[in-house]
């Protein structure tokens, strides 16, 4: 973990309420896809955890959805805004478990972390299949970005207004070596049930600190209690214990 001052280079909407923010600063502590950063916002007490979408040298890309006060304020930040950010939080995805032709599944704001993961996997020559799930056509983003990485990309929409109708689990390919998934809990559960390989899933929880101090985001796993912000957010399929 590092405390770094970033400056906003770009902050543009991808859809009605999903924004892409490009930040410049020291990214050296961001060592794996699936990690997140924790952003201090003036006037709000708690930092806002946002998953890393991409990292190139000193350039950090995050994608966030406007859901409350914090993201509302973020969406209005002009270029040049300086942000106090804790970087390199969480464990991230383990590439070594992915095998030769991994399957990546992202739902809604669960899509962004899949981008950096796909990029890393392509860099080491893996055949990457990506399924991106959205509710409807107007919410779709990043399809082309994944394609230009050379991934085999399928988009699903719940209402069928774009791509394949249904959920990501309605578009599972014949075979894949491993899966990596990020999205809302119902999607994680569905993917957990309908996949037949090993996999890694990224979880969300309201956090106090984001770096393991407050025990605010603890969860039970087969291998014991874990802090989603520290031992997570990515969990191996085998260790997951569904609460309800």
């Amino acid at each position: 973990m590092k405390q770094v001052l970033f400056s906003v280079k770009e902050n543009t909407p991808l859809t009605d309420n999903v924004y892409k923010m490009i930040l410049t600063g020291d990214c050296s502590d961001i060592t794996a896809s699936g990690q997140f950063v924790n952003i201090k916002i003036d006037g709000l007490f708690l930092r806002r955890p946002i998953s890393v979408c991409d990292r190139e040298g000193d350039t950090l890309t995050i994608i966030y959805k406007v859901v409350g006060k914090g993201t509302e304020i973020m969406s209005k930040m002009p270029e040049g805004t300086v942000l106090d950010v804790l970087t390199g939080l969480g464990n991230g995805y383990n590439l070594e478990l992915c095998g030769e032709n991994p399957l990546l599944l992202g739902g809604g704001v669960g899509v962004p972390p899949m981008y950096m993961l796909a990029k890393e996997l392509r860099n080491i020559g893996k055949k990457v299949t990506v399924i991106l799930g959205f509710n409807t056509k107007s919410e779709v983003f990043y399809e082309d970005e994944f394609k230009s990485l050379g991934c085999d990309v399928t988009v699903t929409t719940v209402d069928g207004s774009y791509g394949k109708k249904g959920f990501v689990t309605d578009a599972l390919p014949e075979s894949y070596s491993h899966f990596c998934c990020c999205g809302p809990e119902p999607m994680l559960k569905a993917v957990y049930k309908s996949t037949n390989t090993s996999g890694q899933l990224s979880f969300e929880e309201r956090m106090g600190c984001g770096f393991g101090a407050c025990m605010g985001c603890s969860c039970k796993t087969i291998t014991g209690y874990k802090r989603i912000c520290k031992e997570g957010p990515v969990m191996k399929k085998e260790e997951i214990l569904w609460e309800d």
């Binding site: 201090k40 309201r206 600190c209 101090a213 407050c214 025990m215 985001c217």
Partner: protein
């Protein structure tokens, strides 16, 4: 010792800054980012007789100038704390540490403190009779002078180390409870623990916290903390450790002027992991600004 040093129940502290229990784990998460030996000491994660997962999540809610937590004393239990946490802590912290202990019965408290008493790393006990997040225990000991008396007495019977009792602000008469602890032999009082608070998710129409209510902390509660530290330090003759919303070197000074011998810092650590280090570094300039020679000179200076 330097101009920041204070003496807490007979043990010298290099400075009065103490990370509060539950916001600093067992220290080593923070030791990864700075040398925690700059701290006066710190109060480790509330420890109980048996291991506890704590409450269901969500455990955290945001508030104006503060937060609510309902962790519920998650900890591995006293045996594991001794076997696993303290050895890890020893590697990164070479000063006496404050052992924060909770329980669900008087015997619980005594059992846990007796076990920990043998550990030479421990310089003080902080007996938490004020956790708002556990039912059938915790806070109830801190809202009734008799119960607070019994717990204090039982702990004093099993250790010769200084016993500091941590009080809840959610009471009508904080002074009567502090005095009961003093009568039972407490060596110090620490306050305030969190205030019982609640926030609602307007979309879901449910409490944000799964447990409904939780402990409200952060700069928002500072004025209540200063008031209670002032009331208690004027009513007892044992040292008071002040806490509650302290988030700057100036807040530390204000707490000490109100009567605190040392100051715990809680929620601020969660927002800025370097908060305690930064405050310690700022203190000398702030002493100069307010024409304070040695920090111990201002303890309880307000009449």
């Amino acid at each position: 010792m330097g101009r920041l040093s204070v003496n807490l129940c007979g043990v010298e502290l290099e400075n009065p800054v103490i990370p509060a229990s539950g916001t600093f784990g067992f220290g080593y998460e923070f030791a990864e980012i700075y040398d925690i030996n700059c701290l006066g000491t710190f109060s480790f994660k509330g420890t109980t007789k048996d291991a506890r997962f704590g409450n269901p999540t969500p455990r955290i809610a945001e508030c104006t100038a503060g937060m609510i937590n309902a962790v519920g004393l998650q900890n591995p239990g006293v045996e594991k704390v001794i076997a696993e946490e303290l050895p890890k802590l020893k590697k990164c912290f070479n000063k006496p540490v404050m052992a924060n202990v909770s329980g669900f019965s008087v015997d619980d408290y005594a059992y846990t403190c007796e076990k920990l008493d043998k550990e030479e790393q421990i310089g003080w006990f902080e007996v938490n009779v004020s956790c708002p997040n556990v039912h059938g225990g915790g806070m109830s000991f801190g809202t009734d002078p008799k119960a607070a008396f019994e717990v204090t007495k039982a702990v004093k019977a099993v250790t010769n180390k200084p016993v500091i009792v941590k009080l809840s602000p959610n009471v009508t008469d904080i002074v009567s409870i502090a005095k009961a602890c003093e009568d039972a032999g407490a060596d110090g009082i620490s306050l305030i623990n969190t205030m019982l608070g609640m926030r609602i998710d307007l979309n879901r129409r449910t409490p944000i916290i799964k447990n409904k209510m939780g402990g409200f902390s952060g700069s928002a509660i500072f004025p209540v903390a200063v008031r209670m530290v002032y009331q208690v330090s004027n009513a007892v003759s044992i040292p008071v450790v002040g806490m509650g919303g302290v988030s700057s070197a100036e807040d530390v000074i204000e707490m000490m002027m109100a009567g605190a011998t040392a100051v715990e810092i809680g929620a601020a650590n969660l927002i800025n992991p370097f908060a305690c280090r930064d405050i310690i570094n700022e203190l000398p300039q702030v002493l100069d600004k307010y024409k304070i020679n040695e920090i111990k000179d201002i303890i309880g200076v307000v009449e």
